[in-house]
Symmetry: D2
Subunit: 402 residues, 4 copies
């Protein structure tokens, strides 16, 4: 904990998976990093009183509320951390920015390009008043990913020729898996595409420093009807699964697309929840004229780097264990070889957010960066709807730094 | 060597990379497998007298000729093995079949759909006369690949959901690499697409038992002008590479495409000669509702298999070392764990070809199977030319068994 | 956080590497696990006032003291957590147990068998009074390690034939690395042997349920003189490293030994700080008549399991990603495939310690278990001193459950 | 095939596993490498007339004989290739050398130090007459192994600190596996120790350029009685395996030992036929002050190299695919990334043997080198018999170049 007395009082909306992950990060960040301000876990918000009260106690928040507008209107809240499903991001973020709160919004920024544009515009206005905003693409802060970007920026890969990115999961392979909110378009915006595809779009643009300029896509919903969840149907699931009421899956189970990056590279992307055996397999390989890198989120402490400028007989993919003090973020943690986990990416995110807010600079990724991801998602959806015809990614019409 | 006196007298056209690989296989096959006929390395054909004479001596052929028509017209040749560049496949194969020779033709079958259709038609005619034909997609005979097909056929993967296939090499990343025949459309037909993309198209169709029904593709030629090879330019390459005469690369350096298989799966394919650090990286992953498999040609003795019917806590990708006597082809080789190499896929190919010819059955892949690959290559090329619009794979209009 | 009001007030002695790791675990454990008591980070103790004050602030302890006797004598402390170097373990632990405090003591339990015996005897006495004690071999609580033990206990490996265990680091390969306390026998007891060798001794005995019965060992100190640390020499290190005062390394840099387990297996062990490129490479492979397991701490979320009862063609080492809700400890964390890190092993340790203390049962590993490890370390040291002659591991003469 | 007319007429004794492997190499070597002499597969020798006749036909030898003395006495044999079990090596080799034949003898050189000394002395005498001898430790010629030696010789690893070597197989885990000759001391000399342990002893001494100076060992025979093989018992094996006559296993199932190398390194060695799931797992890791290397025979085309002189953030084990034209032996084979197999190590062995004989230099490993391995095996056996007491490796008392 630094010697500073400056405090950032955080109000978080949402307490499910993302809420728990963010809480662990807010709780840890000042214990590990020496920062110019301390985060205070001041207020948590959720719609169900009993559940949010329990979450406040378990996750360690000072207080709770069931009304996000209350959270935004309080004077003793400096930061609004939005961890809700995508359909409420825009409304909450716009209100928070208008109220002069710094905003950290989970990805994807919104469920539509229109919302994302509005949020970006609001962030631009708020920036002028010293209000900061950031979208939570946490994987940028995995040390190996940060290092990949640095290698590219330093020219170690030369001209980028190929990007291949997959984010594969398998949690809905079973057709009896229920119709949760992530399978409903009105809540989630899209399926695998927006949920996990957004991550690889952002990550590859971040690492390469290039934008996806156009795509040709195919999406598929392999299982089109699923049992309604017990809580939403008002019924306990039947034992054999046959008599449970079912509903229609309105999002994609998988999305695949080829793309061009504006620096000339060819790329392939795949996001799927039907890749049996792949649990959280975000894998990215980038080939350049001078070298290549490979990253796998299931082994997030490692980075494979191929340096084609080495003597021919010694060239090979080096498995770098990204746990040295010299590696991004790692001097704050354990000795070399002592690995970190998934949640640490959030701790790093909070570290950078706190530092940016406390020192008065804009954190990244900005809402504009996140809008750009949204524009790619939109192009993918358009291409898929139009029989895989080529879809240009619309310009963001705003200044953004990837 | 079997006790049979039956001999298959082979005449091979071509003596470069493929000629050397085929020679090693013809030389070895009867020493390792017990077969109903013996291959005799009777005649090798090439255009350059000195070189083909040297090849005959080095590779161990009884005699040589500089005229492939001579080879085809000889009564003492039973099998014509075509190892030339793709632009001469059709002419030689058609003549050989007309002469009643069994034909083994390297992949891709031809440089165009038209040629491939003609060859397939000729093969159908010849078949009626007991003349056999086969296209040399040797990777089908890598034991791990054969085993993959068997797992799918046995239903161990359930319904196929995803195919992702890449064939990555990096031998022309250097812009000073010369304009060899493989970079010229009139000789090679296409670039990475036909050379290595054809392999992953055939392999995935073979393993899944499904056809690619449509594609959306992007191709690229990253380096558009290259120095002419010394022998073709008639000049020694200049020392600094700047003054050497150059020519235009007329084929793709890389091709990427998304596809649908006729059984409902989504697929991504990538073939590239610009994937720095990837030497011969043919990698295929197939996800089904009950399991998944992964294959990597650089570790061709291994197969990863995920069986989702196992208890949840024990599920994982099993690295199967495909070197047991119970594995395809392997009882003929060494004890378990003693690995085989690339060339063995050809020995297995010759094994199956000899057995089929000697016992009077049709070997696979047939010319019709290879035509189907050609139709996919054609769809990819059409899609790429038409701005990645969806291209249906034309029907082969002929009976073929993948 | 559970609904319980029961609180365990923890006083921790030490604030370096282990102190930081334990703090992170105490801070997190009740936020993630639902337990019958809450840990309160009440008091931290260190000799340097300024440093311990800073540590209390940074790590989040309510108060600090510079006298461990003060910590032990306070009525408002329930648990004493000993994170000091090994030379002070015995004195602190004996005093704490005498004062009726539950004790969690970092490994190795002590610097000598005599101390360990005394501590074990004291723990036995204290147990009768309901006072609990535990030695912190945290790697037992890595989910994959816990799972290994379960597989062995369930008979899935059959009769154990081989154990091979290495714990390799490389942080003192540079001869200019200073003579820190871990390189001094009077502080550390031994070098690589007790520091990291102790971990693989405990881990393999834990997993197999068998004891090491005898050893034959070789130890080596590759670099025998090292510069004194700046703080201990009272001088800034000289620029060129040649004129800095040096001292003698009095511990082993590496220890290797062969062993027999009391169930009949052969084993090899290696602990080294000179294994260039190996950062924290605790690797264990166990072969049994029915199967094998492999674990690597640098990939601690994975377990390789070979099941020799599977059909021959499908046998292979399965890479199990130990992140499913069904795996030990993992239901409290993130969705499948979202990996955890090194520090989580301590959170799991605190979880089990809190539960044991709160419910009145003895946690494991007990001091007696840790004494058994000490006896193995002692046998290794004796064998090494006597020219690698076979050294039987002395009986513990006390009841212990591995 | 080179243009030379010089022919080396080979007579091979033995036609089992090693005979088949050697045959494949003799058949291939001049087809792939350009050498100053051609090997002619002139004569094969075995005791069973029908079997050796069949082997000659299958494996492609010009003629056969059932009397090895006949083979040695023939004027038209230049090279005697000994592929029999170890108990006959000495007699055949001594006779062959006395007859002026160049000798290639499979490893281990002999079943005892005495025999190995006699053979080495005979080789020294023969050498003076221009007669060459070599012991067939084929793994020295795996390109990755040759490259490892070169890296060490070039100083890339600095001072060697650690060697860890295992050779693990699992083919006799089943207690019903019969008592074949390899499990009988009078035929095989020893069990896992001499069969596979000899390989890792030779390989590590070859790579490091250092000798093992002393060892402390444990050996074990896990299954002490086994069914007699059907052919040796004169009875068909009974169906249930319980009534078959059994015999006593007189060799080790596994041997483990710690060692010192004469350059100061510590080493661990393990040879086992009871490592379930490990088929041919010869694995070697060497750590030096400047770098490390790792080799795995089941992935013999790869070498992992850690270069500690690289920038800290980029250090990692590089997976080098040892298939480039610049790598040892590989320019003769296929393009980069096209892997070779186990048998190629023999082809390389024959390549070097032919070249040495044809150019009148001594091939390596010499009999003296192999004697040195035998002396280590002897020290291991002595240590194991004497309760793991330290056993110095006896001096060879002869000039040998590792």
């Amino acid at each position: 904990m630094s010697t500073t007395d400056k405090e950032l009082r955080v109000g978080m909306v949402g307490y499910a998976f993302m809420g728990a992950a963010h809480s662990q990060a807010w709780r840890t960040v000042n214990r590990v990093f020496d920062l110019p301000a301390r985060a205070r876990m001041a207020l948590i918000c959720g719609r169900d009183t009993a559940k949010v009260a329990d979450a406040a106690d378990t996750l360690g928040w000072d207080a709770y509320t069931t009304d996000w507008r209350d959270l935004i209107n309080r004077d003793d809240i400096d930061v609004v951390d939005i961890c809700t499903p995508g359909d409420s991001h825009a409304e909450i973020a716009l209100a928070a920015l208008a109220a002069g709160k710094h905003v950290l919004c989970e990805k994807p920024l919104a469920n539509s390009v229109e919302e994302a544009r509005a949020m970006t515009a609001a962030a631009d206005v708020a920036r002028a008043a010293g209000v900061r905003s950031m979208c939570g693409f946490n994987y940028r802060r995995v040390p190996a990913v940060t290092m990949m970007r640095q290698l590219v920026a330093d020219g170690r890969l030369g001209v980028i020729r190929h990007v291949r990115a997959t984010y594969l999961q398998d949690w809905i392979v079973d057709p009896q898996f229920p119709l949760v909110w992530r399978l409903q378009k009105d809540r989630a915006g899209s399926g695998a595409l927006g949920d996990i595809g957004a991550h690889i779009i952002d990550l590859t643009q971040f690492v390469t420093g290039q934008r996806i300029s156009g795509v040709s896509a195919v999406t598929e919903t392999f299982v089109k009807e699923r049992p309604l969840p017990a809580e939403s149907s008002g019924l306990a699931a039947s034992v054999d699964g046959h008599t449970a009421p079912t509903g229609t899956v309105t999002v994609d189970d998988a999305a695949v697309f080829v793309a061009r990056l504006d620096g000339g590279a060819l790329a392939t992307y795949e996001a799927s929840r039907f890749a049996t055996g792949r649990k959280n397999a975000l894998r990215v390989e980038i080939n350049g004229s001078l070298g290549s890198v490979v990253f796998d989120l299931e082994r997030l402490n490692e980075l494979e780097f191929y340096d084609a400028t080495r003597p021919a007989v010694e060239q090979g993919f080096s498995r770098i264990l990204v746990t040295e003090g010299e590696h991004p973020y790692m001097s704050a943690w354990w000795p070399p070889g002592h690995i970190i986990g998934y949640e640490h990416s959030f701790t790093h995110e909070m570290r950078d957010f706190i530092e940016a807010v406390a020192t008065g600079v804009d954190p990244t990724p900005s809402f504009a960066d996140a809008l750009q991801v949204q524009l790619v998602l939109d192009a993918v959806a358009r291409s898929a709807e139009l029989g895989s015809s080529w879809a240009e990614v619309e310009p963001a019409l705003t200044a953004a730094a990837v």
